[in-house]
């Protein structure tokens, strides 16, 4: 029975990783941009939620809702002012720009808020749990998992059911032809990055509610998120969810064997999947 419990915990953790990864997957799928600053942007979002919560006394869930518009604006601005200028055939400039951005955000947060680790106070819901048959489930992990599925579902609806989603897919498949149809790739990219940061803010809420975070927490989260995206396959949002679940389950099983093996087990699962399927589980687009 303990194995079933571990499996469920792993799936819940995987939901959190899928949330980290969803925004990354969207941006990666549409413009082939590897955003090395995504983890730090999530941590930035967590600090923003914390700041709004402290200033207004609101519950973190409401504070996160207030944080969504400024984070969307930040994403839009980042793409318009910076990332659009370096996107192109050469993959090096966007990689290095986002890498520089990651270092800048991390150290700016360190300067602004010290290296102390913080946590978002979500209140009594944190300690509550539900007894589902033989296993006990925390309410927060359950909400996290449900949010992950909802976010992926929402992004998929956006991607396949709306005019904006059509523009996303068209630009992803063939930017030149998309331009002939009156789409401006630069604008599409800006909106996509804005949406990615909205998702990052949702991820930040659950990151901060689940465990302590500090300014240097970004890169490790980014690595798990990327592993989820790559395992899932380029451009497939459900694949990203599956990738997150694989990493989460591998980590909890590793931790169950030996607490020191948690992260290692996640990485090894990543390597194992890619050795069998180099393009991930459910690749949608060719890259």
């Amino acid at each position: 029975m303990i194995w079933l419990d571990t499996l469920i915990q792993g799936l819940m953790l995987g939901g959190l990783y899928a949330l980290f990864a969803a925004g990354l997957s969207l941006v990666f799928g549409i413009m082939r941009l590897v955003n090395l600053a995504h983890g730090d942007l999530i941590v930035l979002g967590a600090y923003l939620i914390l700041g709004i919560g402290t200033a207004t006394g609101l519950n973190p869930f409401l504070a996160a809702a207030l944080a969504l518009p400024p984070m969307f604006a930040l994403g839009w601005l980042l793409q318009t002012a910076l990332l659009n200028r370096v996107l192109g055939e050469d993959i090096l400039p966007p990689l290095l720009v986002t890498f520089g951005l990651s270092v800048v955000i991390q150290n700016a947060l360190l300067m602004g808020s010290s290296a102390d680790s913080r946590k978002l106070p979500v209140g009594p819901v944190e300690a509550q749990s539900l007894a589902l048959g033989p296993v006990n489930l925390g309410v927060m992990p359950l909400i996290t998992f449900a949010s992950a599925v909802a976010v992926i579902f929402g992004l998929n609806q956006l991607f396949y059911r709306t005019a904006l989603g059509r523009a996303f897919r068209a630009t992803s498949d063939d930017p030149v032809t998309a331009q002939l149809m009156g789409i401006r790739p630069q604008r599409v990219f800006a909106v996509a990055t804005g949406i990615a940061l909205v998702v990052a803010t949702i991820a930040a809420l659950y990151l901060g509610a689940r465990a302590n975070f500090d300014p240097s927490a970004g890169p490790a989260r980014l690595l798990y998120a990327f592993e989820a995206v790559i395992i899932g396959g380029l451009g497939s949002l459900w694949g990203t969810l599956a990738g997150g679940l694989v990493i989460g389950v591998a980590q909890t099983f590793g931790a169950a064997l030996n607490p020191e093996w948690q992260i290692l087990a996640g990485h090894l699962a990543f390597v194992a999947v890619l050795l069998v399927r180099p393009r991930g589980l459910f690749p949608r687009a060719n890259d």
Partner: protein
């Protein structure tokens, strides 16, 4: 005249650097040792990213493996640290084969993430090695380091303590490593294989059509740079004297700084890393008291370079003056039959 002046100036600079432990202070020697080691790492990363198109974010894996290889040789098998250096480099090169096998399946940006994950696997794996201190690390026995060959001779030459002699020896080794890397890179890039590599970078399809095998060349560069990076890692930790997985596999120290050095100096140019490391050292001295501000400035400079001067300081200098210190291009072959009537 200009042609003669430059080699003479370079030679003078090298002689001055070599004489530093005799004439300079110990603190300066330690500082410059770090600068030279970062330069070795930067030259290696530049070969990977600037010439072979392999943007690795995981070179700290080979720094750590080289360092731990050296530590294992000294602590577990009682070998000389200098022999340990070589073995550390060879182990790093040997491990780069399976790493290449895995990461080369991932193209472009995936490759960067793959190398990063591999470096984290190496860090976590080494943390399980209890004989070398596990996650907390261990120290290199002082006796082993101070009995390295040549230490007594160096003491006689520069005076001072055994520890100062160790600093001088590691400094000279780092200087030798820089010279070796520069000469080897230049010879490699001017060779047939280097020409092929640059052809692949400039136009992969055209390069393949004239018979260049990109994967073979890239794998070769990956292996050789793993060796250079591993040796440098061992050397760094002889001098530092204490190792832990977090220090040996530090993304910031052994990869992030190195990337900034190469980008600022000029990626894909041979003198670029040298210029970059000078700027880096200057900034470090200038902003040493401000801690995090220094990293922010570094990040902003990196971003600005990518936006406005993609080939870095040295690349921009070449573009403006048309004068290249270490030209890598070949003159076009002369026509076999004279075109003049």
């Amino acid at each position: 005249m200009r042609k003669m002046l430059l080699p003479v100036l370079l030679l003078l600079a090298v002689i001055l650097l070599a004489a530093l432990p005799v004439i300079g202070s110990r603190a300066l020697v330690q500082d410059l040792f770090m600068v030279l080691c970062l330069l070795v790492l930067a030259l290696n990363w530049n070969m990977l990213a600037g010439f072979a198109g392999l943007v690795s974010v995981g070179q700290q894996a080979f720094v750590g493996i080289g360092a731990y290889g050296m530590f294992a040789c000294v602590i577990l098998w009682g070998m000389d640290p200098l022999a340990g250096l070589l073995i550390g480099g060879l182990v790093a090169m040997a491990l780069s084969v399976p790493v290449a096998f895995f990461t080369f399946r991932l193209n472009g940006a995936y490759f960067a993430i793959g190398t990063w994950a591999v470096a984290d696997i190496a860090r976590l794996g080494i943390s399980q090695w209890k004989a070398l201190g596990g996650g907390t690390g261990t120290a290199l026995p002082k006796a082993a380091v101070q009995e390295m060959p040549g230490i007594e001779a160096i003491r006689a030459l520069i005076g001072g303590s055994k520890a100062a002699a160790v600093d001088a020896l590691t400094y000279w080794l780092a200087l030798a490593l820089v010279m070796a890397m520069l000469v080897a890179s230049w010879a490699f890039l001017r060779s047939r294989m280097g020409l092929g590599l640059q052809a692949v970078r400039d136009n992969p399809v055209a390069a393949r059509s004239v018979g260049v095998d990109p994967v073979r060349l890239k794998a070769l560069v990956f292996l050789l740079t793993a060796f250079g990076t591993g040796i440098c890692g061992g050397l760094l930790f002889i001098q530092i004297g204490r190792i832990s997985p977090d220090a040996a596999f530090s993304l910031l120290d052994w990869t992030a700084f190195v990337i900034f050095i190469v980008v600022i100096g000029g990626i894909g140019t041979l003198p670029g890393p040298v210029v970059g490391v000078l700027v880096f050292y200057g900034l470090q001295r200038l902003l040493a008291d401000y801690g995090t501000v220094y990293l922010i400035v570094l990040g902003l400079i990196g971003i600005a370079i990518m936006l406005f001067a993609r080939r870095g300081l040295w690349g921009g200098f070449i573009e403006r003056t048309g004068w290249d210190l270490l030209p890598l291009s070949h003159a076009a072959p002369r026509p076999i039959t004279p075109t003049d009537p």
